[in-house]
Amino acid sequence: MISFSKKIKKYSFILGISLSFLYFIHSADCRANGESRPTRLEKLQKRGYVRIGLSNEPPWTVIDADGQVGGAGPDLTHAVFQRMGVSELQGVLSTFGGLIPGLLAGRSDAISSGLFIQPGRCQAVAFSEPDLCDREAFLMKKDMPLALKTYRDLATDSSLQVGVPAGGTEEREALAAGVPASRLVPVPDGPSGMIMLLAGRIQVYSLPASSAQHLVDLWRGQKFSLVTVEDAPVMCAGTAFSPNAVDLRDAYDHVLAKLKADGTYDRILRAHGFDPSLARGHTREEFCRGKESL
């Protein structure tokens, strides 16, 4: 019995320590608040490189065996930053879901990895004007005769397990359309999604059309069918900045507009198989406001 009460003492002690640790965190945090940096661009120019948050998702971003960063998003961002006087681009790899937390934690200066502009994200980060636009797609095995065209269709067929990129917009769209969270399976990356499809762990894989096309090309031997989602509008990605780096974002937008005007933009997008015309006529405000229909 003595040892028992001793134990209780010990545990409550440890609990107390961890609670006070939590409190310490809390208070330390309140102090670290509220600094502002007026000249982020100058800092970057002085430093000579910009850190870009990326997740490896071809063709939006491509990372080769030597760690070289390419793909539509980083190439475009690199072009813009070069015009802004920052010559070098460093990739900071993370999971897709970890991109925004990484940006907010100061691990990167901007995210350029096909992050769709979307109301919830607009509250967390400062987006540039739309750069890469895409439609949504469903991937299915060809021998599965599923007449799926919309997210609502996913909601009605209760036997479907739906794969969605972890932390992607597809998850929200599906939830908004009434697909229960229990039928959504977070997929860490493209090939994993394909294997999950082949293995029957999921019946549908919902992802941006260009990523889907890339995966279908990669799995040439297998039969997959790719359907463009009808009730999802064209989605546009923007380069995301920390909410207290709006000045940097504005400078970025300024240069981006120039690139769009002089044709550099079209050239980079075409090189990676994106349609440059999709972004025309769309604005950040429009996507940040969101759609009432969904």
Binding site: K7, P101, A105, A199, R201
Partner: protein, 245 residues
């Protein structure tokens, strides 16, 4: 980014949901590990020659490579062999087999700690090998290693976050999903840490009373425990310290 209690309140229901999965996964995996580990230990004792080397080679391989990669293997590659287990099943299998290789060592040390005399007496009493194992050796061996098994149970709990990498939504999975959706990991992960601390304490309490109920006195210089041989012949070491994160 600042600490926000609002998020703590928000994330809590998700974490509790994940906690259930964590607990169920731990219990199931440990059940697999306990049975399989015993089987491996006995097999390693009764086999000779090539079969012995095969078994011990395989267990070394499993013990020497990361569980994370093994889970990927089970989850992404078994389907190619036309075996598609659900994600949870893959997790249980992966954890169960991995920990079975640890536990087999523990059992073996328990078996080796039994004096040779007992084997001889069993033979003299005309026990069959099965009877010897069943009624003489294993009851003593298992009882003497119970505290160590308990430690592995606690260690197992803390490895369950690996399950989130194969889309089993346990506590860490729920926390990172929540983090992905709300763009903040600070509160969810800290809370997961706190819950693990609490879970570990509860588990330690349970294991402690379990071993006591099962009639094992656990003392620092307990003879049966300190005479155990660890995986690497560490004599005279409290085997409970031979514990792995």
């Amino acid at each position: 980014m600042t600490w926000d209690n609002h998020f703590v309140v928000m994330v809590f229901p998700y974490l509790l949901k994940g906690l259930q999965v964590t607990i169920i996964a731990t219990l199931c995996s440990f059940a697999v590990a306990v049975c399989l580990g015993l089987a491996i230990a006995v097999l390693e004792k009764i086999t000779r020659g090539p079969i012995f080397f095969l078994i011990s080679g395989v267990t070394h391989f499993i013990r020497g490579t990361p569980l994370l990669v093994q889970l990927f293997f089970l989850y992404y590659l078994l389907p190619y062999a036309n075996i598609t287990l659900p994600a949870f099943g893959c997790g249980i299998l992966g954890f169960g087999v991995h920990y079975a290789t640890y536990l087999s060592n523990v059992y073996k040390s328990g078996i080796e700690a039994i004096p040779v005399l007992q084997w001889e007496v069993s033979k003299a009493c005309n026990f069959s090998p099965f009877q010897t194992w069943r009624y003489v050796i294993l009851p003593q061996a298992i009882r003497s290693v119970l505290p160590v098994l308990g430690n592995y149970f606690i260690a197992l709990i803390k490895e369950t976050p690996l399950l989130s990498s194969i889309s089993v939504m346990e506590m860490m999975g729920e926390a990172s999903l929540f983090g992905d959706m709300h763009y903040r990991y600070l509160e969810p992960i800290t809370m997961v840490g706190v819950l693990f601390l609490a879970l570990g304490m509860v588990a330690r309490g349970c294991v402690g009373s379990m071993t006591r109920i099962l009639g094992v006195l656990r003392e620092k210089d307990d003879h049966s425990a300190s005479s155990l041989k660890g995986p690497y012949e560490n004599s005279k070491m409290d085997p409970s310290e031979n514990l792995i994160s």
